[in-house]
């Protein structure tokens, strides 16, 4: 019995481990050995050009964007952290300057909501699958049963 349960869950556990390690590698990689120029571009790509539509400071060549880009470059050279630089820019231009919304206050909704929805959907799906399986195993007629009845009624009618 125990061995059967293990066999049943092993692939799922393996998949979970693979997904988690892939996510960990993906999100942690690249923060280690960036050159100052790479860090500047990486921060600038997370800052919205205030006068454009859908462009980051790294992509835009407007005077405002170039000014912000140069300022990011100066602050990177001065040894400030990514978070310090982005929060400095948010304090001057407002939170809307950041392409990633803040994870506190009302902005947290966009981070938390997908998690809640996903968890709710998974739970709902699990419950539905369970109920369908139970319903099927109980007394609901299958399509074969219905065919049988239809044929029987047709014979009776004729």
């Amino acid at each position: 019995m125990k061995g059967g349960a293990m066999k049943k869950w092993a692939p799922l556990l393996l998949m979970l481990a693979v997904v988690l390690s892939a996510l960990a590698v993906g999100s942690l990689q690249g923060n280690g050995n960036q050159t100052p120029a790479q860090r500047t571009v990486s921060i600038a790509s997370r800052v919205r050009c205030p006068t454009c539509q859908g462009l980051s400071v790294a992509q835009s060549k407007t005077p405002v964007s170039r000014g912000i880009f140069d300022e990011i470059e100066r602050q990177v050279a001065a040894g400030r952290s990514d978070a310090q630089i982005t929060s400095y820019l948010a304090s001057r231009y407002g939170d809307s300057i950041l392409t990633n919304p803040p994870s506190s206050g009302i902005g947290a909704v966009v981070w938390v909501l997908p998690v809640i929805v996903l968890a709710g959907a998974a739970g709902g799906l699990a419950m539905s699958l369970r109920r369908w399986r139970q319903a099927r195993s109980a007394s609901d007629p299958t399509s074969d049963d219905l065919d049988l009845v239809t044929r029987a009624r047709a014979e009776a009618a004729s």
Partner: protein, 211 residues
Amino acid sequence: MLSPGLPSEQVPQPVPGQQRRNSWAEPRVVALCVGAIVVALIAVLATRETAGKSQQSPILGQVAPAISGIDVLSKRPIKLSDAEGRWTVVNFFATWCTPCVAEHDDLVRFHESNVINGEDALLAVVFDDAESDVKKFFEERGGGWPIVDEPKVAVDYGVTGVPETYIIAPNGKVVASVRGGVNDEALVAKLDDLKAQFAAVNSTVAGSTTP
């Protein structure tokens, strides 16, 4: 045709009562929940502090970011704190920007009426422009207030375009900002208004502290 000998109840059918409950009650509950969430979101978003005024500068009410540099015209070092204790108008401009050119005569008039007599201060910050062009512009069109050419300052103030003008109170806080060109009469009126408000607040504070 259905045979009268075979009552329809004999046709296998889902139990009516139970099926109704499952297929109708749940969607209704889900729909009500989703509706409640949407209503709550709208209520929160519509009533929060920044609703409808997202264009306002976040530095309003904050201590004005420092400005220092070499005056483009006189080549002497200048800084914003030189004007501490006075109302200071900080004007971001560029010679390539048409509304900046248009507001220049207004700034010259404001300089003559309010700055030369030592009452208020005026400081210009160059926005993405060549110093030689700025010099030529002031030689041709007049005006002799200090001009700083430091790109960092525009970012410190969150300037998104020129012209943009900030008013800094004698206590060093940013109290007003104007996007677009200024008009000297409107600027003086705005300053008078702010000065009156400032005096009223200071007198009530003074009044409340005296027994």
